[in-house]
């Protein structure tokens, strides 16, 4: 009996050391326009990972009919109740082209097909847009998001500080940031995302993502968009999540 307990203890210790490496699984750009399809995809990802995941939400309702907006809010509420983690993902995601931007910001907008909402904005406009995105979220009447993820991971030189004044976490393409005792702490975390790449390189990128997760270091972010379910395919995505879950422990931003 005692021997069995020892074996179980050893197995548990082995399991824990094997999963010392961690990763974050995040679904990006859940919005009023895609929430019906996205909700199903998110739940399938969570099922494959064995636990609720993080969701980056675009809070703007825009011109969606009130009935759709209501369903969207209900879905968000359900996710929060089920233990999913909410991250705020800009206000509308798409950039307002009337806003004044730096040359670098304009180039990023051109590259990102106007997706990088915060690119090249000055301090005042950044603050205003950040507050607007939070106000849009608050209008849904659901708790506070854990953090802020700028659309396309592209902010500007003011955004990180401003976001960390409001939220616990902020991230860009190269890492995750948290304010601890007034100082900004950076967590090493690479972004493994597929949505902006041409289909021809997706196979290699999936191998790279798995290899990155296999090797030690960092709490990397595995990111999926609605589009990936068409380009990569659901089976491959879910198998990738299952495979990575055997090598690393899935955590949320708030577990960092």
């Amino acid at each position: 009996m005692e021997q069995n307990k020892d074996i179980l203890d050893i197995q548990a210790a082995e399991q824990s050391s094997r999963k010392k490496k961690k990763f974050i699984l995040c679904y990006h750009s859940l919005s009023v326009n895609n929430f019906k399809k996205a909700s199903v995809q998110i739940r399938k990802l969570a099922e494959a990972a064995g636990a609720p995941i993080s969701i980056a939400v675009v809070p703007a309702i825009g011109a969606a009919p009130e009935s759709e907006a209501e369903q969207f809010r209900e879905e968000l509420e359900k996710f929060v109740k089920e233990g999913y983690e909410i991250m705020l993902h800009g206000a509308r995601h798409r950039a307002d082209l009337q806003m004044k931007r730096s040359l670098q910001g304009k180039i990023v907008l051109w590259i990102s097909n106007n997706g990088a909402e915060f690119a090249g904005l000055d301090e005042r406009f950044t603050q205003a847009l950040l507050k607007r995105s939070l106000a849009l979220w608050k209008a849904n009447g659901i708790g506070k998001p854990s953090g802020f993820i700028p659309p396309i991971w592209f902010g500007n030189k003011y955004l990180k500080q401003q976001a960390l004044e409001i939220f616990d976490y902020y991230e860009d393409y190269h890492g995750i940031y948290q304010k601890v005792d007034g100082k900004v702490k950076k967590y090493k975390s690479d972004t493994l995302s597929f949505s902006v790449y041409p289909p021809a390189v997706l196979g290699i990128l999936q191998t790279y993502a798995c290899l990155k997760m296999l090797l030690p270091g960092g709490a990397h972010r595995l990111v999926f968009h609605e589009k990936d379910f068409r380009t990569i395919g659901e089976k491959r995505i879910l198998n990738m999540v299952r495979y990575i879950s055997t090598m690393r422990e899935k955590i949320m931003y708030r577990d960092l």
Binding site: G203, T207, C210, E234
Partner: protein, 44 residues
């Protein structure tokens, strides 16, 4: 010295490419595996 360094770099690069290629084959097979928990209409 530089010749030795260049040759070593070439060998390491070639080995990395070969290993990556085999890992790619393994992953491609792994990701295409049918699993009991997938439904037949999953790919629709």
């Amino acid at each position: 010295m530089s010749d030795w360094l260049f040759k070593s770099w070439l060998k390491i690069s070639a080995l990395t490419v070969i290993l990556f290629f085999f890992y790619h084959l393994f992953i491609s097979q792994k990701l295409d595996e049918e699993c009991g928990c997938c439904h037949s209409d999953d790919e629709k």
